[in-house]
Amino acid sequence: MNRREFVKSASVTAVATGAGVAAPAVFSSAQAQARNETLLIVSESGPNNLDIHGVGTNVPGYEASWNTYDRLITHEMTEKDGVRYYDRDKLKGELAEDMNIGDMSVTFKLKKNATFQDGSPVTAKDVKWSLDRAVSVGGFPTFQMKAGSLEKPEQFVVVDDHTVRIDFLRKDRLTIPDLAVIVPCVINSGLVQKNATEKDPWGLEYTKQNTAGSGAYRVTKWTPGTEVIFERFEDWKGGPLPKIKRVIWRMVPSAGNRRALLERGDADISYDLPNKDFVELKQAGKLNITSVPYSNGVQYIGMNVKNPPFDNLKVREAIAYAIPYQKIMDAALFGLAKPMFGAPADAQTKVAWPQPTKFVTDLAKAKQLLAEAGYPDGLETTLSFDLGFAGVNEPLCVLLQENLAQIGIKTTINKIPGANWRTELTKKVLPLFTNVFSGWLDYPEYFFFWCYHGNNSIFNTMSYQSAAMDAFIDGARAAAANGDKAAYDAGVKGMVDLAFADVPRIPLYQPYVNVAMQKNITGYEYWFHRRLDYRAFQKG
């Protein structure tokens, strides 16, 4: 009986103690039964806030909010290369039992029997308060709502206790899908307002540490930076009752240890291992590894087009031809990504995103372009990357640095810690850098609106201004709103061609979301937010 069995059989779980002093015989079986209903997740970092509307809530925080709150509607599930995949176009009710889309408004009928985790009923008043909160707290949540033209509290009208109507400001195809993302969740307004203060009307401080929703799980214990423990909400009405009773989410900073935990069976799921580990674990076959491309996501080399030398198109093209694409795919990604380069010369531009460019590694051409651009003896600049994703970024930049050196571009690598990365991006001063962006709403015009549009949002990291590009984007959005397919297709193709011609940023690849699970874990679902959905998992 090796060490682990010994610990397991001797360990007394919370459940067992709850059931009073269990006799030894029952003891181990109750404990084993607890094992099957408990999911152990290990990852590098944890949430800094449980409330999606919270100030500065990080990406792990999205996962906590997604599993503890409900939305009015959510996506149906479909299947894509063997993995359960959220269906972008088919929606179903979660808290709403009926949705009726009118010309300039949509009306939802709430499920009568839905209650919050503290037992109080879910009413239209809670829905309105939650939506008002989403558009008024500012920062990322409000920003995300605006993307679907949900901007003013006046749009949300309480018809009766169980009916809510949302009026449109303008026709926008993204409005309905935007109601299915994490932000417009339904919050227990009664409970939160009890703990709000005049300085913090929306009760952000309270919801930062306590979950006040109707979701399938509630957080029973949260030690920031160490662990989060979720318990199942027994009378959840948003969907079929999940199989997993208890989820333990532990932060294990060392990637080596996370892999060791998986291989020895002490952890059930981990999603942020280095690519090499995923490839090897898949070959070893001891674990289930799923790899699904980022929906609407692209890793790219960005350049600041406002100041020299990258304001010169020829210099940008020289960089595009100097990138060691295949070397990066092999040494940095280990093949776990979809190449966004090297499309055949005659390939037609498709009405989709992301799609590959026609660039390939051609150092001679790059050198010639650089000479034509007026830099015969090369130039010197810095290459920056996000230390938070050093596992991929560092080898990528080192390989790029080596190739650029061969055409005379001398670069020093500048590592920027995770949180400061966003502050550097907002300053828009980094001359040359690598970054990844993916939009929750899987539509090309949504991606281009944030990354290429002249309104210079934070995600337009290259400060790219082009009236022609703006025209294409706005044209496509309008066409989508009133369903004019031909104009929409022309707009999207126009955007993509201009983006590849001006090449303010050079797409490298579409990264994968990799998840490693024990053999006895089933029910993994890929969602647009790329986090885990505990509600669908089964174990044993």
């Binding site: 090796n2 060490r3 682990r4 610990v7 397991k8 001797a10 360990s11 007394v12 779980t13 919370a14 103690t17 404990q31 607890a34 094992r35 408990t38 152990l40 290990v42 800094n48 806030n49 919270g54 100030v55 500065g56 809530t57 990080n58 500012g138 920062g139 990322f140 920003f143 995300q144 930062k208 540490q209 030690t223 920031p224 930076g225 160490t226 662990e227 333990i248 532990r250 932060m251 294990v252 900073p253 060392s254 080596g256 240890n257 060791a260 935990l261 291989e263 020895r264 002490d266 952890a267 230390l387 810690p417 995770g418 949180a419 400061n420 966003r422 502050t423 907002t426 949002s457 934070i458």
Partner: protein, 337 residues
């Protein structure tokens, strides 16, 4: 003895003030911009400015310093951005974890290094002496995180002797209710030997990693002071009076030799607190070190300042304990303070 404590505290006050000033300056120099972080990814220039005023970061430095000190006086250490918790609560939850690990490492190191040092001194030039020097030097010549990962690889991954490096307690154990915050002691108080054994198992490998790193300074100091005491005149008198070797070595030589060792313990402890930061990262230990490292890397002021203050106070308390221990061992220290 009170005079001793009084004078030690008197000297500690200026250094505490120094620590407060230095931490304040250090955090203001960190590259990150808290306001921008607060404003979130989609912030516009003016929303950042608005949050900057809310946080009071736009005031001139001296004003910020006054705010900081006055808040400090009220015991409010501000709250951390990355974890969203008030720093004071975080530190009081995490300090025992780090203290338990560091103390375990120190006690383990003492238990190994002191006898080793004594044997090396008594049998100077013999194989024991060389072995002591080689082993302790080997222990300190590898970075502590590398030793940690190596031990995890061997004892957990390959042999399975050690439990999973998952922090202070196996996932399926609930922490004993906090009395001292030290899991080992609390579980004993609660008579819960299951948890005690599990907590001990979790503590073993990280404590050994730290101990290996602390062997060299302690062994070297014990050997050196033991050598000088053994060649002193009162040891010769004791031998001339026919006392047995054990009495001479233990009651006469060892007690005197412990004096310099006790003084270096202060240095070794703060040296270990530093190394502990890396060990916590490797063993996912919910200690104060990894917490400060996270905060430092993300330029999160409040936790860094809180952490350093906690360490400064710990350092002063530690030095006080060392002085008292010194006073107990050496009567001369008791008389003149």
């Amino acid at each position: 003895m009170l005079k001793l404590i009084g004078s030690r505290l008197a000297t500690a006050v200026p250094s505490l003030i120094g620590v407060v000033i230095v931490t304040f300056m250090l955090t203001r120099v960190l590259p990150g911009d808290t306001a921008a972080y607060f404003a979130g990814p989609a912030a516009t220039a003016e929303s950042i400015a608005e949050i900057r005023t809310k946080l009071g970061l736009d005031k001139p430095l001296p004003a910020q310093f006054v705010d900081y000190v006055s808040a400090l006086a009220k015991g409010d250490l501000g709250s951390s951005l990355s974890t969203g918790q008030p720093v004071a609560a975080e530190i009081s939850a995490r300090l025992p974890a780090s203290a338990e690990l560091t103390l375990a490492g120190l006690i383990l190191a003492l238990a190994i290094a002191v006898p080793f040092g004594i044997m090396a001194a008594v049998k100077q030039g013999s194989w024991v002496d060389h072995a002591c020097r080689l082993i302790t030097t080997a222990g300190v010549s590898l970075p502590v995180f590398f030793t940690g990962l190596l031990l995890v690889y061997v004892f957990y991954f390959k042999l399975g002797w050690a439990p999973a490096p998952l922090g202070r307690l196996d996932v399926f154990f609930s922490a004993p209710e906090t009395v001292t915050g030290f899991y080992l002691i609390d579980s004993l108080i609660a008579r819960d030997f299951e948890t005690f054994r599990a907590a001990l198992a979790q503590l073993a490998v990280p404590a050994i990693t730290l101990a290996i790193f602390a062997l060299a300074p302690i062994a070297r100091m014990t050997r050196a002071s033991m050598l000088s005491v053994l060649s002193s005149e009162f040891v010769r008198t004791a031998r001339a009076a026919g006392l047995t070797d054990t009495t001479v070595i233990i009651t006469y030589a060892f007690r005197n030799a412990m004096l310099p060792v006790v003084t270096t313990l202060g240095m070794v402890f703060s040296f270990l607190l530093g190394a502990n930061v890396l060990v916590e990262k490797v063993f996912a230990w919910p200690g104060i070190g990894s917490y400060a490292v996270e905060a430092l890397i993300t330029s999160d002021y409040a936790p860094v300042q809180g952490f350093v203050l906690a360490m400064a106070i710990l350092y002063v308390v530690l030095n006080l304990l060392i002085d008292i221990a010194y006073g107990i061992i050496d009567p001369r220290a008791r008389s003149e303070a």
